[in-house]
C-alpha cells in the first residue's frame, strides 16, 4: 500500500483543477479505486475521516470509500464495522458542524454521504433475514430500528464526543451499540431539536436521505417488505413528529426549504410502499401543510411557501390522489374553487387562492401560474366521474351547488388572459372537459336524469363558446409578435389541436343541432366580404378561421353527397361557401415578407382548403357555388407558381420557400379532392382543366412533380365519369391528354443532348408519371356507377381491345421514344415508371376495359427488348415486378413451355454473368418463382427448368451467407414443401421430387442453419416445420443421416430430433432450433 500521505496527495490532485501530479486523471482514479476496493479500504476511510487537518475533499473521499466498501461482496461480514465507522464519523462531523456551522460548512457534503451510507446499512441490516446464521455466529446486529433515534442519542453526548478520539475503542463501540436501538421519548426529541436549529436541520436531512435511498432501492428490487414494516413502526413515527412540529411551530417566513424536501421524499416513499399491511397515514402532515399554506402571503414570504406546498399537491394529484383523504380533499376543493360538491367545507379560503393567483398574475409569474393550473386541473380530474354523476344522473341533488360548481369551472376555463403566453388554465381544462364528456357518454341511458341532455348541451355549448376565441389566431399572432418563440407557437398549436379533438368528442353530445349548425351559422350567416383588412390586420377573419378549423374536424368523415341536412343548413347560411373562399383569398393576399404573416397565411389557407375538401360533397346536391370554388382554388395555384418563380429568381429565405411548398401541396390536394368527389359536376370545366394543365406542364412552369401528377389525376376523374358518352368521347380526351404530354416530351427531347440538365431528366420522368396518375384515376371503383357502366360494357370492351384511337400505341411510342434516347436509357427510374404504366391494369379483372390494357404479347415484347438494352442489374427488379403481375393476370393463358421461355430469356441467360454474384438479383429471381408458386404452381413445377435448374440451384443457395438470399430461398422451399395452390397432380409430382432430393435438401438446410448468424435462424424455422409436418418419417431419417455430417455431437442431435418432432407452434420450434444451434456452436445463450 502507498503511504497515507501519498493517498491524500492523490485525492487532492484528483479534486484540484490544476493538479500537479504527473499522473493523468484516469490513472489517479483507477489507482484510488483500487485502494478503495482493497482490504485497506476501511482503515484508510477511517484515517481520512479522523484527521481534522485533512481537507474537506479528503474527508468526502473517506466517506465515499465507505460507500465502496458497503457495496463489496464482503460487506455482509463487515457490516458491524461499517456501521460503527459510519456512525462514529457522522456523529463527530455533525457535532462539529452544529458547534461551528460556518467553519464546518464544507463538511456538510461528507455528512450527507455518511447518512446515505447509513441508510444503505439500515436497509441491508433489516432485510438480511437470509443471513441470520451469519448474524448469529458473528454476533452481528440483527435489527436496526431507527437511525434518527440513534443519531439523537449519540449527538446528545454533546462535548464528550470530542473526547471519543482519546478513549479506547471498546468503550466507544459500547456507546455506539447502546445507542442503536435505544428508545427516544417524543419530548426528548422535541427538546433536542429545540436546543439548536442545526440539529433540526440534520435530522430532517437524515430522514429525507433514508427514504430517498429506500425509494431508489424499492424501484430497483422487487419487494422489501421487512424494511417497510420497520420504517412504519419506528422511523415514520419519529419523522412525523419532527415534521409536524416544524410545520406548526415555525413562523412561515422562517421555514426552511429542507422541510419541503423531506416532505416530498416521504410522500414519494409512502406512495410507493403502500400495501395491505402497511399504511402510513399522512393526514396530519397534510393538514399542517394546508394550514401553513394559508399563512403564506405576499407580505410574509411573497407566497414562497405556498409555491412549495402547491408543488407537493401537484405531485399527489398527478400520481397518487388516494394519499389524501376525502376531508382534506374537500378543504382543497373549497380553496381551489370556492365551492364544494358536498356544500360542506369552508369556502372562505378561496380568497387565499384568489390572492395567490393575483400575486402570480401581477408579477407575471407565468411558470408558477402554469404549475398552479396543472395542480388544480389534476385535482379536478380526480372527481370528474363524481361530478358527472352529480350533474347528469338521477342521483343528483343540490342542484344549485352543482350549478355554482360548473360556473366556477367555466370561469376557470375562461381565464381572462392570453392562452400559452399568459395563462394555462384554459389549456389544462381541455383535459377536464374531455374527461367529463367521456364520463357523460359512458353513462347508461337509464341512469340519466330527465334534464341531463339539456344540462349537458348547456354546459358543453358554453365550453365551445369559451374556446373559440381562445384558439383564435389572434393569440398566435400575439405570440409571434411577442418574440416568435417556437416552443410557445408549438404549444399553442397543440392547444388548438386538443380543442379540435374536444369538439369532436362533444359532437357526440351536442350533435349537428347544437354544434355543427352553430359553427356553420357562425361562418356563413353574414357576408364577410365587407370586412376590411388594411394589409396587416386580419383579426376580423380570425374568428371565421377558428370556426372553420373546428368544423372541418366534424365534417371530415361525413358523406355530404347524400345528406339532406347540409342542403337545409347551407340554405339558411347563404354566405358559408363564399366566406370560406374569402378566408382562402385573404390567406393568398397576406404579405409573406412580413415575418409575422407566414405561419398565419398557411393557417388561413390550410383551414379554408381543408374545409372546402370536407364540404365539397355538398356540391353534388347544389353545384351553384362550385364554379367560384374551383376558380378560387386555381387562383391559389396560380399564386403558388408565381411565388415559386419569384422564389427561384430571388434570394428568398428557406422558411418562406417551405411555407410556399406546403401552400402548393395543400391547394392541389384540395383541388384533387373536389375533382374526385364532384367529378360528375365538372364536365363543363374540362377545357379549363386542360388549359391549366397545359400551362403547368410547360418546362418553365414552377410547380412540383406532385402538383402535375395530381392535376393529371383531376382530368382523369372528370373524363372517367363521362362514360355515358361512350368510349369514343373518352378516347378523344385521352388522346388530347396524351398528345399534350407527347408535345412537351418532344420539345424537351429536341434540346441539345450535351446540355441536358438533371431538371430536364426529372421533367421527362414527370411526364410519364402524369400518364400513370391519369391512368389510375380512370379506374373507378364505385360499384353504383359500375352498374350503369355494365350496360355499355361490351361496347367499351370491344373499343378498348381494338383501341382505334391508338392510345396504347401513343403511350408505347412515348415510352420507346424516351427509352431509346441515350440520355434516358441508362436511368433505371424510366424503366421503373414504364413498368408501372404497362402493369397499371394488370390488377383489373379481365372484363374491365381500360385504355392502358396492354396485351401479354406487348408486355413480354417490351420486357425482352429493353432487358437487353438497359442496365440489367439496376432494371431487373422493375421487370420482375411487371412479370409477377403479368403472370398473375394472364396465368390461364400461359403454358409451362412459355414460362420456360420467359425464365430462360429473362433469368437463365444472365445467371452466371449477373445474378449468381448479386444477392439482390438472386432475391428478385427467387421471389419471381415464389410469386408463380403462389398463383399457379403448375406453370413452374411442370417446366423443364424446374428440375434442370431451379431445384438443384436453389438447394445449393440454402447455406448462403446473405440474409436476403437466405430469407428468399427458405421461403421458396417452404412454399415447395407446403403449397395450398397445388393441384393433385402438382402435389404428387412435387412430393416425388422432394423425396428424391430430400436428403440433400435437409443437409443443405441444416448446414446453412449451422453456419448462419443468430438473427437469421428464424428463416430456417418455417422450412423445417413444413418438412416435419409434410414428410415426418422421411425428415427424421434425413436428419439422422445428415446431422453427423455437419458436426459430431450425437447427444445434441438426438435431443434435437426428438424435441423437434413433438413440438407444436412456430415459437416453440424456434426455441428447439435455437437450442440445437447454441449447443453445436457452443455459443452462449442470452
Amino acid at each position: 500500500m502507498s503511504s497515507i500521505e501519498d493517498v491524500v496527495a492523490l485525492i487532492d490532485a484528483l479534486y484540484s483543477r490544476q493538479h500537479s501530479s504527473q499522473l493523468g486523471v484516469n490513472e489517479i482514479q483507477s489507482k484510488l479505486q483500487e485502494i478503495q476496493k482493497s482490504s485497506d479500504g476501511l482503515p484508510l476511510a477511517n484515517e481520512l475521516l479522523s484527521n481534522p487537518l485533512y481537507s474537506s475533499n479528503v474527508r468526502y473521499f473517506g466517506a465515499l470509500t465507505l460507500t465502496v466498501q458497503s457495496n463489496l461482496e464482503s460487506a455482509k461480514l463487515n457490516r458491524h464495522e461499517l456501521l460503527r465507522i459510519n456512525l462514529l464519523h457522522l456523529t463527530m462531523l455533525a457535532h462539529r458542524y452544529v458547534e461551528n456551522p460556518s467553519q464546518c460548512a464544507g463538511n456538510y457534503i461528507t455528512i450527507k454521504k455518511l447518512m446515505s451510507n447509513l441508510s444503505l446499512l439500515f436497509h441491508d441490516i433489516n432485510e438480511a433475514e437470509t443471513d441470520s446464521l451469519v448474524t448469529e455466529t458473528a454476533g452481528l446486529i440483527a435489527e436496526w430500528w431507527n437511525p434518527i433515534n440513534t443519531l439523537v442519542q449519540l449527538l446528545s453526548q454533546g462535548n464528550q464526543i470530542e473526547e471519543w478520539t482519546h478513549i479506547d475503542e471498546q468503550s466507544r463501540d459500547g456507546l455506539i451499540m447502546q445507542s442503536l436501538n435505544a428508545q427516544l421519548p417524543y419530548q426528548d426529541l422535541i427538546t433536542f431539536i429545540s436546543s439548536n436549529p442545526r440539529y433540526n436541520q440534520l435530522l430532517l436531512t437524515f430522514t429525507e436521505i433514508i427514504v430517498e435511498d429506500l425509494t431508489k432501492l424499492q424501484t430497483r428490487r422487487h419487494s422489501t417488505p421487512r424494511i417497510n414494516e420497520i420504517v412504519h413502526k419506528h422511523l415514520y413515527i419519529t419523522t412525523m413528529s419532527l415534521l409536524n412540529v416544524n410545520l406548526t411551530s415555525t413562523p412561515v417566513d422562517q421555514i426552511d426549504d429542507t422541510i419541503f424536501k423531506t416532505v416530498t421524499a416521504w410522500v414519494t416513499y409512502v406512495s410507493l410502499t403502500r400495501s395491505g399491511n402497511i399504511s402510513m397515514d399522512l393526514s396530519e402532515l397534510f393538514q399542517n401543510l394546508i394550514n401553513l399554506m394559508y399563512q403564506s402571503n405576499d407580505d410574509t414570504d411573497s407566497f414562497n411557501v405556498a409555491e412549495r406546498i402547491i408543488s407537493i399537491w401537484s405531485y399527489i394529484f398527478s400520481n397518487d390522489t388516494t394519499l389524501m383523504n376525502y376531508e382534506l380533499r374537500e378543504q382543497i376543493e373549497a380553496t381551489f374553487l370556492g365551492v364544494t360538491r358536498s356544500g360542506n367545507a369552508d369556502v372562505s379560503k378561496n380568497q387565499w387562492l384568489l390572492q395567490y393567483m393575483n400575486h402570480l398574475v401581477t408579477n407575471e409569474m407565468i411558470t408558477e401560474l402554469k404549475e398552479l393550473s396543472i395542480c388544480i386541473v389534476d385535482f379536478l380530474q380526480i372527481s370528474s366521474l363524481d361530478l358527472c354523476n352529480k350533474l347528469f344522473t338521477k342521483t343528483a341533488n343540490n342542484e344549485a351547488i352543482i350549478q355554482q360548481y360548473i360556473k366556477v369551472l367555466l370561469q376557470l376555463t375562461n381565464f381572462p388572459l392570453l392562452p400559452v403566453l399568459q395563462e394555462s388554465f384554459s389549456i389544462r381544462m381541455v383535459d377536464f372537459w374531455l374527461d367529463l364528456a367521456d364520463s357523460y357518454l359512458n353513462l347508461p341511458n337509464e341512469a340519466l336524469a330527465p334534464n341531463a341532455i339539456n344540462v349537458a348541451v348547456d354546459i358543453f355549448q358554453q365550453v365551445i363558446n369559451i374556446y373559440l376565441p381562445k384558439i383564435s389566431l389572434l393569440n398566435k399572432q400575439k405570440i409571434i409578435e411577442d418574440g416568435n418563440d417556437e416552443t410557445l407557437i408549438h404549444e399553442f398549436e397543440d392547444f388548438r389541436s386538443a380543442v379540435t379533438d374536444l369538439s369532436q368528442s362533444l359532437w357526440s353530445i351536442l350533435g349537428n343541432e347544437h354544434l355543427t349548425n352553430i359553427l356553420i351559422s357562425g361562418i356563413g350567416s353574414n357576408d364577410a366580404s365587407g370586412i376590411v383588412t388594411n394589409g396587416t390586420d386580419f383579426s376580423s377573419y380570425y374568428q371565421i378561421e377558428a370556426m372553420c378549423s373546428l368544423l372541418n374536424k366534424l365534417l371530415v368523415d361525413m358523406d355530404l353527397s347524400i345528406s339532406p341536412w347540409i342542403v337545409n343548413i347551407l340554405t339558411k347560411n347563404p354566405f358559408f361557401i363564399q366566406n370560406i373562399l374569402l378566408l382562402f383569398k385573404t390567406g393568398l393576399t397576406m404579405d409573406q415578407q412580413n415575418p409575422n404573416n407566414g405561419p398565419l397565411k398557411l393557417d388561413f389557407i390550410r383551414s379554408s382548403s381543408n374545409l372546402i375538401g370536407s364540404t365539397c360533397g355538398y356540391f353534388n346536391r347544389d353545384p351553384k357555388e362550385l364554379n367560384s370554388c374551383i376558380e378560387t382554388l386555381f387562383q391559389g395555384l396560380e399564386t403558388c407558381t408565381a411565388k415559386n418563380t419569384a422564389n427561384k429568381n430571388n434570394n428568398v429565405p428557406e422558411k418562406i420557400k417551405e411555407i410556399d411548398d406546403k401552400f402548393e401541396v395543400i391547394v392541389i390536394k384540395t383541388i384533387a379532392t373536389v375533382c374526385d368527389v364532384c367529378r360528375k359536376q365538372l364536365p363543363n370545366y374540362l377545357v379549363h382543366f386542360f388549359n391549366v394543365f397545359n400551362n403547368l406542364l410547360q418546362y418553365e412552369s414552377n410547380v412540383s412533380q406532385f402538383t402535375r401528377g395530381k392535376l393529371a389525376r383531376c382530368i382523369g376523374y372528370i373524363i372517367e365519369c363521362q362514360y355515358e358518352l361512350g368510349p369514343e368521347t373518352q378516347a378523344k380526351y385521352i388522346v388530347q391528354f396524351l398528345d399534350m404530354i407527347n408535345g412537351y416530351v418532344d420539345t424537351c427531347l429536341s434540346s441539345d443532348p450535351s446540355s441536358i440538365t438533371s431538371q430536364q431528366v426529372d421533367y421527362i420522368h414527370t411526364m410519364l408519371e402524369c400518364i400513370s396518375e391519369f391512368g389510375s384515376s380512370m379506374i373507378n371503383n364505385n360499384e353504383e356507377e359500375n352498374e350503369q357502366l355494365l350496360q355499355q360494357l361490351p361496347h367499351y370492351q370491344q373499343f378498348w381491345a381494338a383501341d382505334p384511337s391508338g392510345c396504347r400505341t401513343r403511350v408505347m411510342g412515348l415510352i420507346e421514344k424516351i427509352l431509346t434516347n441515350s440520355i434516358y436509357s441508362t436511368n433505371s427510374s424510366f424503366i421503373e415508371v414504364a413498368c408501372l404504366l404497362l402493369g397499371k391494369t394488370l390488377i383489373l379483372k379481365e372484363v374491365e376495359p381500360h385504355f392502358l390494357k396492354f396485351s401479354m404479347a406487348d408486355i413480354i415484347q417490351f420486357v425482352l427488348k429493353h432487358l437487353n438494352e438497359h442496365n440489367y442489374v439496376s432494371s431487373l427488379p422493375f421487370f420482375v415486378y411487371l412479370l409477377e403481375k403479368l403472370v398473375s393476370h394472364y396465368k390461364d393463358n400461359l403454358s409451362a413451355n412459355e414460362f420456360d421461355y420467359l425464365f430462360k430469356e429473362i433469368f437463365l441467360k444472365y445467371y452466371s454473368q449477373y445474378i449468381a454474384s448479386d444477392p439482390d438479383l438472386l432475391q428478385s429471381m427467387i421471389n419471381f418463382i415464389i410469386s408463380v408458386l403462389d398463383v399457379k404452381p403448375s406453370l413452374v413445377v411442370n417446366s423443364s427448368e424446374w428440375m434442370n435448374f431451379i431445384l438443384p440451384t436453389f438447394v445449393k443457395l440454402l447455406p448462403s451467407n446473405e440474409k436476403f438470399t437466405i430469407f428468399a430461398v427458405t421461403k421458396f422451399w417452404t412454399k415447395v414443401v407446403n403449397n395450398r395452390k397445388y393441384t393433385q397432380q402438382d402435389l404428387q409430382l412435387t412430393r416425388q421430387q422432394i423425396i428424391m432430393i430430400g436428403s440433400e435438401l435437409v443437409y443443405q438446410t441444416m448446414f446453412g442453419l449451422y453456419n448462419t448468424q443468430r438473427s437469421d435462424l428464424n428463416s430456417y424455422t418455417d422450412l423445417l416445420r413444413a418438412l416435419v409436418a409434410k414428410f415426418p418419417i422421411e425428415t427424421k431419417a434425413w436428419l439422422i443421416e445428415t446431422l453427423p455430417k455437419i458436426c459430431n455431437n450425437p447427444t445434441v442431435h438426438e435431443k434435437f430430433i426428438n424435441k423437434l418432432f413433438i413440438t407444436r407452434g412456430s415459437r416453440a420450434a424456434g426455441n428447439v432450433i435455437l437450442t440445437w444451434w447454441l449447443d453445436v456452436t457452443s455459443l452462449p445463450s442470452y
Partner: protein
C-alpha cells in the same frame, strides 16, 4: 380486455394528453356506437425537422392486444408505405415493437412514437421489410430521396 390492459391504456392516454412531443398526435378510435375503443388508436408522427421526411405527418394505427403490456402493440403505417423497415402491409419492423426482441412492458406510447420518428430517417438496414425501398436505400440514394420527398407531400398537413 384484461383489467391490467385497460388500466395501462387509460394511464397511457392520460400521460399522452399531459405530455407529448410537438407535432405528434395519438388518440383512441371510436367504436360504431360512439364509445371509445382504447385498444385501437390513431396516431401521427411528424418527420424530423431538417430531414427529407419533414414535410409529412405520417399516420399510424396502433392496436393493443389483450395481453398488453406483456405483449407489444401492433403498429402500422398505411399499406404500401415506402420505407425499408415497413412491410408491404404497413406493419413496422422495429425492435422495441417485437416481443422477442426489445419490447418491455414499461415502454410508453411516447417512446414508440419517437422511436418510429427516429426510424423514418435512420432505417435499420439489417431488418429490411420491403424490397423497393430497401433496394433504393442501399443502392440508389437519389431515387430513394426523391420517393421519400414525394411521399412526404402526400402526408403534408
Amino acid at each position: 380486455m384484461s383489467s391490467l390492459c385497460l388500466q395501462r391504456l387509460q394511464e397511457e392516454r392520460k400521460k399522452w394528453r399531459k405530455d407529448h412531443p410537438f407535432g405528434f398526435y395519438a388518440k383512441p378510435t371510436k367504436k360504431a356506437d360512439g364509445s371509445m375503443n382504447l385498444q385501437k388508436w390513431e396516431a401521427g408522427v411528424p418527420g424530423k425537422e431538417g430531414t427529407i421526411w419533414q414535410e409529412g405527418v405520417y399516420p399510424l394505427t396502433i392496436e393493443y392486444p389483450d395481453e398488453y403490456p406483456s405483449k407489444p402493440p401492433k403498429v402500422r403505417l398505411p399499406a404500401g408505405f415506402y420505407h425499408p423497415n415497413v412491410y408491404p402491409s404497413g406493419t413496422i419492423c422495429l425492435s422495441i415493437l417485437n416481443e422477442d426482441q426489445d419490447w418491455r412492458p414499461a415502454i410508453t406510447l411516447k417512446q414508440i412514437c419517437l422511436g418510429i420518428q427516429d426510424l423514418l430517417d435512420a432505417p435499420n438496414i439489417k431488418s429490411p421489410a420491403q424490397e423497393p425501398a430497401f433496394r433504393a436505400f442501399s443502392k440508389n440514394k437519389d431515387e430513394y430521396k426523391k420517393k421519400i420527398l414525394l411521399q412526404a407531400k402526400q402526408y403534408t398537413q
